[in-house]
């Protein structure tokens, strides 16, 4: 009866575990933990009330043991009947994540104290004998539990702890919930039954799911999280790593692939990869680190000769050196241009425009725009433009010289012209964009150019 009551309570309140004893209240924390963990799983996979019932069974079992009530024994003895009897009674959870949460809580509960629960083992035989041990362990775990996994994706811990929790019920649970995805996946070294492997696979498929931001259960989870915030987050990573190691290589390989394949979205949906901490801070840090590494890769491509360089520091050094060398080159080339320029005529901006237009039959509508725009319309590629312009200049140097002399009398002040030049750009940008929109063949301004940033 008691187990049923537990089950009903757990289901009825959606993660509200109303235990009567203090020890059981301690226990109640773990379900919340696991619930918080399981919260990230999609409901689609957690559609079996039987699984919830098994979870409840586990809970009932543990709580029973906590109370040192021999109820655990009957539970251990006939979990199957419990399952069958309780399954229909349980209301189908609209949000299966509740179950996931609980399962995750279990998992994290167990995760936090691997060593403690280890002796629980996966063997069913141990369960009954370890019932009292359960209680003691559970209490110990509660006290020493600093390893709460707060974030949703914690499959390994979930797997391990839930497995441990179930202990004896594992085999039966797996049998009864052959299809359920949430079957408490086993923790590697403890002994992998075939069913648990199945569970693992199914649960590992959950790895591909994103953490949902706020659902109805999230509120519960948040409450729980708030209460459990003090639980350590530092050890979670260790636990995660442990679990990663423990889980069978086959699954980890498969899961790792899945994880790496699925893209991580931005701050709305973040998936913690297998074996990584799922703390919110560490997740954000990981995202940031990946952004930085991505940018470093871009920089690596830009800087010549940096493909072999590994390491951020060396790369940064190379980048700095390259930027400095480029700036020095600009300085040097400007000096060279200043020296060379008196002999070279650039006065043919208008001349160039005229030449180009004549050669390409510029449209009459282009006359409204500045010569640059006409250039752009005529020459989508800046590269060719430069060469054409310069070659045009070179070919008509005599004409240019004449124009230069005439233009030199214009009396423009260099500084003022520069300033005027400066004011123009942004307006020209708009016009350019108009031009670009009109000519889709032109490369977009922001797109990477063929050597020219447009």
């Amino acid at each position: 009866m008691k187990e049923n009551k537990f089950v009903l309570n757990s289901h009825g309140n959606g993660c509200e575990w109303q235990f009567n004893t203090a020890a059981m209240s301690q226990m109640s924390q773990s379900p919340y933990l696991s619930a918080s963990i399981g919260e990230g799983f999609s409901p689609g996979h957690w559609n079996h009330s039987t699984t919830t019932s098994t979870l409840n069974l586990g809970l009932g079992e543990s709580s029973a043991t906590v109370n040192s009530i021999p109820v655990g024994k009957p539970v251990a003895v006939s979990p199957r009947e419990m399952l069958l009897s309780t399954a229909p009674k349980l209301p189908h959870f609209p949000v299966d994540s509740t179950f996931i949460e609980r399962a995750a809580r279990f998992s994290c509960f167990g995760t936090g104290n691997f060593t403690g629960i280890n002796f629980f083992g996966s063997s069913p035989a141990m369960a009954s004998s370890n019932n009292e041990g359960f209680g003691a362990q559970i209490q110990k775990d509660d006290l020493s539990e600093n390893k709460a996994v707060l974030l949703p994706v914690d499959h390994e811990s979930f797997n391990g702890s839930s497995m441990k929790k179930q202990g004896d019920g594992n085999s039966q649970i797996s049998v009864s919930n052959g299809e359920s995805h949430v079957n408490f996946p086993e923790d590697g070294p403890e002994g992998n039954t075939g069913s648990t492997d199945v569970a693992l696979d199914s649960s590992s498929s959950d790895l591909g799911e994103n953490k949902r931001r706020k659902t109805a259960l999230d509120i519960d989870k948040d409450q729980v999280q708030g209460s459990l915030q003090f639980l350590s987050q530092t050890t979670t990573e260790n636990i995660q790593n442990e679990q990663k190691v423990e889980i069978s290589s086959k699954q980890s390989g498969k899961n790792g692939k899945d994880n790496s394949e699925v893209a991580k979205e931005d701050y709305v949906h973040i998936r913690a990869r297998r074996g990584q901490a799922t703390n919110s801070h560490s997740l954000a840090e990981r995202v940031r680190r990946e952004k930085i590494s991505e940018r470093m890769k871009c920089l690596q491509e830009l800087v010549p000769g940096c493909n072999k360089v590994t390491g951020k520091a060396v790369m940064l050094d190379e980048i700095i050196n390259y930027v400095q060398s480029l700036q020095r080159q600009v300085e040097f080339l400007s000096m060279k241009l200043a020296a060379v320029n008196p002999q070279l005529d650039f006065g043919g901006e208008g001349l160039l425009a005229k030449n180009l237009l004549h050669s390409h039959g510029g449209s009459s509508s282009a006359t409204r725009f500045s010569p640059e725009l006409m250039y752009l319309q005529a020459y989508p590629s800046q590269h060719t433009l430069v060469h054409t312009g310069i070659s045009a200049m070179a070919s008509q140097s005599d004409t240019f010289r004449r124009t230069i002399t005439t233009q030199s009398t214009s009396g423009y002040k260099e500084s003022s012209m520069q300033v005027q030049q400066m004011h123009i750009p942004w307006n020209e940008e708009l016009i350019m964009q108009m031009v670009y929109s009109a000519n889709p063949s032109n490369p977009h301004m922001d797109s990477k150019a063929d050597g020219f940033a447009i």
């Binding site: 940031r288 930085i292 940018r295 871009c298 920089l299 830009l302 800087v303 940064l316 050094d317 980048i319 700095i320 930027v323 480029l326 080159q329 600009v330 300085e331 080339l333 400007s334 060279k336 241009l337 200043a338 020296a339 060379v340 320029n341 008196p342 002999q343 070279l344 005529d345 650039f346 006065g347 640059e372 250039y375 800046q382 433009l385 430069v386 312009g389 310069i390 070659s391 070179a394 140097s397 230069i404 233009q407 030199s408 423009y412 002040k413 260099e414 012209m417 520069q418 300033v419 030049q421 400066m422 750009p425 942004w426 940008e429 301004m445 922001d446 150019a449 050597g451 020219f452 940033a453």
Partner: protein, 134 residues
Amino acid sequence: MVALRFLRALSLVRCSGPGARSPSYRARGIRRAAYACMAASAGPRRAWSRALLRKIRRRPGRGLRRPRAVIRRRRPVGGGDPLEVALRRLVPGGGCMEYCRLLEEAADYVKCLAMQVRLMQTIVDSASHVNSID
């Protein structure tokens, strides 16, 4: 795009008077024109281009600067890494950015800088070629 601007600017620099100014003055003008063209062509979307243009337009001794409500320093990042500090100094407007943003801007800046250098090199080469022909 950059080519057009730069050629135009160069022509303006020439116009100021080939004989009136010393080559060093002209060189400085050309350098400023180069950076200005680069920044202008990069677009206002880039933080470095905005900062660069701001730096160029801000002529020393231009007069009282209106105390505009320009939030320049959003977050002067604590420069613990000397490399990062150096990069911030190199990239225009790099003092206020976050590290992530800094890398992004640095990439764009490097790209534009390289392009500008190539352009100038081409001009110099063609100029010297033209001169050699003549």
